[in-house]
C-alpha cells in the first residue's frame, strides 16, 4: 500500500525508522509467538534497545538520551507494531514515555542520575501505577495513601492493571498525601521493587497483549525515604494529566501502526486467496471494503500526525490528542473486525496474525483513557466555549 511520505519525517527520521524496522524483523518478530505464549518477553531486550538508543529518544543527551523529537517517537511506535503484536510495544512505551517521563520532567538531579540514566540504558525498567480497583477513569478518586513520618512516607493501598509489573525495577506510584483535597491531594512517588511491604499480588490473564506483563500491586505499610517524592507534594494529578498527552498520542500511533500492518496482511491475503473463480480482491465489495479501510486509516494517521505536530510545537494539545486517540482506536477496531472477516475461518485461527490483532487492538479504546473520557475532554475543553 502506497501513500506519500508525510513531510514531517526528514531523511534522519526515515533512517531511524529503517533501523528500527530492521531490528524488529531480526530480533523481535522471529520470537514474538513464543513470547506471546509465555506471557512475557525477555528483560534483556530492554538492554539491547538501550544500546541502540531506542529508550532515550527524546531524553536529553546529558542522561544518555538522544534529544530527538516526537517524529522519532512516532516512527519508533509505528515500526514496533511491525512485530504483529501490541503487548511488547505497549510495555516498551510505558517504560519510555509513560512512566520514566515523570522522573525526567519533575525529578531531582539525584533521581535522574539514579533512575533515568539506567532506564535509558535499559538496565532498569519503569512502570506507572495510577489505576486502582475502585478508581480508573476517575484518577482523583484513588484511595492509596502516603503519610509522612519524619523522613519517610508510608504507603498503603492497591493498584491494578499495572503494565510491566513483572519486569519493572521502579514504580512511579500515585497516592493521596491529603485525603480531603481530591485531585489536589495526589502526589507521585518512586517505589523500588524490593521495598518491604510492596508486592506483586497477581499477574493478570488478559484477552490480548499477552507479551506484556500486567499485574495487581499491593502496598502494606511500605516505608520509602522522603526524597522519593517526585516533584512537589499535591502536584501528582497535574503531572499525570500533563503526561497523558504523550501517552495518548503514542496510543493513537500504536493503533495506526498495528492497523497498517493488519491491513497490509489482509491486502496480501485477498490478492492470493481465491473464491468463485477469482481472487477475493477481484470481488468488488471486497475491494471497496479495503478502499474504505485504507481511507479511514489514512485519516486516522493524518489526525495523529496533526496532533503530534501541535504537541511538538508546545502549548495545549489536549483536544487534538484526544481526537486522535479516540478516532485511531475506533478506526483500528473497525479495521480489525473487517480484516478478520475478510480472512474467513482462517481469521479466527491463531496461526494467522489477524486473530491476535483483533484481540490486542481491543485495548486501544480503553487503556490510557477510554473513548468516553476522550469525548468528555473534547466536549468540555474543545467545544463548550464561546
Amino acid at each position: 500500500m502506497i501513500t506519500a511520505r508525510s513531510h514531517f519525517f526528514t531523511e534522519e527520521h526515515e533512517m531511524f525508522r529503517a533501523q528500527v524496522r530492521n531490528f524488529v524483523s531480526r530480533e523481535i518478530t522471529p520470537y514474538i509467538d513464543q513470547w506471546e505464549q509465555e506471557g512475557l518477553f525477555p528483560k534483556s531486550l530492554y538492554r539491547r534497545m538501550g544500546e541502540l538508543g531506542f529508550l532515550g529518544i527524546r531524553y536529553p543527551e546529558k542522561y544518555g538520551g538522544s534529544g530527538g523529537d516526537i517524529w522519532m517517537t512516532i516512527a519508533f511506535c509505528e515500526e514496533l507494531c511491525r512485530c504483529r503484536a501490541l503487548g511488547l510495544p505497549m510495555s516498551v512505551l510505558v517504560h519510555t514515555d509513560m512512566s520514566s517521563t515523570h522522573i525526567a520532567r519533575y525529578g531531582t538531579e539525584e533521581q535522574r542520575q539514579q533512575y533515568l540514566v539506567p532506564m535509558i540504558k535499559g538496565e532498569k525498567v519503569c512502570a506507572i501505577a495510577v489505576s486502582e480497583p475502585a478508581a480508573g477513569s476517575d484518577v482523583a478518586g484513588i484511595q492509596t495513601t502516603a503519610v509522612r513520618h519524619g523522613d519517610t512516607y508510608v504507603l498503603n493501598g492497591a493498584k491494578i492493571f499495572i503494565t510491566n509489573s513483572v519486569h519493572a525495577d521502579v514504580f512511579c506510584v500515585a497516592a493521596k498525601t491529603d485525603k480531603d483535597k481530591g485531585h489536589r491531594g495526589i502526589s507521585l512517588f518512586i517505589v523500588e521493587r524490593d521495598t518491604p511491604g510492596f508486592r506483586l499480588a497477581k499477574k493478570l490473564q488478559k484477552l490480548g497483549n499477552h507479551s506484556s506483563d500486567t499485574g495487581e500491586l499491593v502496598f502494606e505499610e511500605v516505608r520509602i525515604p522522603r526524597h522519593n517524592l517526585i516533584g512537589e507534594e499535591g502536584k501528582g494529578f497535574y503531572y499525570i494529566m500533563a503526561n497523558f498527552q504523550d501517552e495518548r498520542l503514542i496510543a493513537a500511533s500504536l493503533a495506526v501502526g498495528a492497523a497498517q500492518q493488519a491491513l497490509e496482511d489482509t491486502l496480501r491475503y485477498t490478492r492470493e486467496r481465491r473464491a468463485f473463480g477469482k481472487r477475493l480482491f477481484d470481488h468488488q465489495t471486497v475491494a471497496h471494503r479495503l478502499a474504505d479501510m485504507a481511507t479511514e486509516l489514512e485519516a486516522a494517521r493524518q489526525l495523529t500526525y496533526y496532533a503530534a505536530d501541535v504537541l511538538q510545537r508546545g502549548g495545549d494539545c489536549s483536544t487534538e490528542v484526544s481526537m486522535a486517540k479516540l478516532f485511531a482506536a475506533e478506526v483500528a477496531n473497525r479495521i480489525a473486525y473487517h480484516c478478520l472477516q475478510l480472512h474467513g475461518g482462517y481469521g479466527y485461527i491463531q496461526e494467522f496474525p489477524i486473530e491476535r490483532f483483533f484481540r490486542d487492538i481491543r485495548l486501544s479504546p480503553i487503556g490510557g483513557g477510554t473513548s468516553e473520557i476522550m469525548r468528555e475532554i473534547i466536549a468540555k475543553r474543545g467545544l463548550d466555549r464561546e
Binding site: I2, E12, M15, F16, A18, Q19, F23, E51, G56, S66
Partner: protein, 249 residues
C-alpha cells in the same frame, strides 16, 4: 590505519523489481534504496578493525547522483568518520568505477580499501579486481575472515568447494563475502552524530579521467515466469517424470 570503504546505492533487495516494457532498464518509481548489502558488510568490517586497533579512520566513498548521500549518511550513522560523494549522472561500467576509485585512492592514500564483492543490482563482481589492477595492489576477494598480523593481512576466502587463506602486505584491497560479519544497526545517537559528519562532494569532471563506458547494457529481460507445479500420485511416477520430462536424472 586509514580504511576506504565503497558504498553503492542499490534497490532494496526486498522490493519487487519490474523491468520496463522496452527492456531498457528497471522501473524505478516507488523503489526503496539501501546500501549494497556487501558494502554494508565492508563498513562493518572497517569499523571493527578500527575499534580493535583503537585508532584509525574510516572513509566512505560513493559514486552517483546526489541522493546517494542518503546511503553515505547511514554509513556515517553506523560509525564511519567521513564520506566522499563523487557526483556523476552518467552511466558507468565497472572500469569507469574503478578509474574513479583509483583517483580517490590517490588523493586519500588509504592503507586498505574494503569493498563489497559485488553490487546486488548488476552483480558485475569486477570493480574490486579492476581497481587492484589499476593500482597494482594485492587483492583478496570474497573474504570471510580478515586478520591483521605484524606486517601483513591474512584473509580467508570463500572459494568453490572450500576455503583459501591468503596473505598480503598493505596497502591492498579486500572484497567482502556474505559470511564475513553481521552489520550493526545505526543507533539513534549514531544517527544524531552523523548529522555533523562531513560528506564532501566532488564532481566527476574534476578528476580529469575518461569514464566513457566500454560496456553498455543492451537489453534487460525479467526472469521467466515459473510454471505451475504438478502433483504426482507415487514415487514411481515422480522418478519417471524426473527422468522423462525434467530430464534431471
Amino acid at each position: 590505519m586509514k580504511i576506504l570503504v565503497t558504498v553503492k546505492r542499490v534497490p532494496d533487495p526486498e522490493t519487487t523489481i519490474r523491468v520496463k516494457p522496452d527492456g531498457s532498464g528497471i522501473v524505478t518509481d516507488n523503489i526503496k534504496y539501501v546500501i549494497n548489502p556487501f558494502d554494508e558488510i565492508a563498513i562493518e568490517e572497517a569499523l571493527r578493525i578500527k575499534e580493535k586497533q583503537g585508532q584509525g579512520e574510516v572513509v566512505l566513498v560513493s559514486i552517483g547522483a546526489k541522493v546517494a548521500s542518503e546511503q553515505l549518511r547511514t554509513g556515517l550513522a553506523m560509525g564511519a568518520d567521513r564520506a566522499i560523494l563523487v557526483l556523476c549522472d552518467q552511466e558507468l561500467d565497472s572500469l569507469g568505477v574503478a578509474r574513479i576509485l583509483a583517483k580517490i585512492v590517490e588523493k586519500e592514500a588509504p592503507d586498505l580499501v574494503l569493498m563489497g564483492k559485488q553490487a546486488i543490482d548488476d552483480d558485475a563482481n569486477q570493480a574490486g579486481q579492476m581497481l587492484a589492477a589499476l593500482l597494482n595492489w594485492p587483492q583478496a576477494t570474497f573474504a570471510s575472515k580478515v586478520e591483521f598480523m605484524d606486517n601483513y593481512v591474512q584473509v580467508v576466502r570463500e572459494v568453490d568447494g572450500g576455503l583459501e587463506t591468503v596473505r598480503f602486505p598493505l596497502p591492498g584491497i579486500i572484497t567482502t563475502d556474505l559470511r564475513l560479519n553481521e552489520p550493526r544497526y545505526a543507533s539513534l545517537p549514531g544517527i544524531m552524530k552523523a548529522r555533523k559528519k562531513e560528506i564532501r562532494e566532488i564532481a566527476v569532471a574534476e578528476l580529469g579521467i575518461d569514464t566513457t563506458p566500454l560496456l553498455t547494457v543492451h537489453k534487460m529481460d525479467p526472469p521467466a515466469k515459473k510454471a505451475a507445479g504438478k502433483k504426482v500420485e507415487s514415487v514411481q511416477e515422480l522418478v519417471h517424470l524426473l527422468h522423462t520430462e525434467a530430464k534431471v536424472i
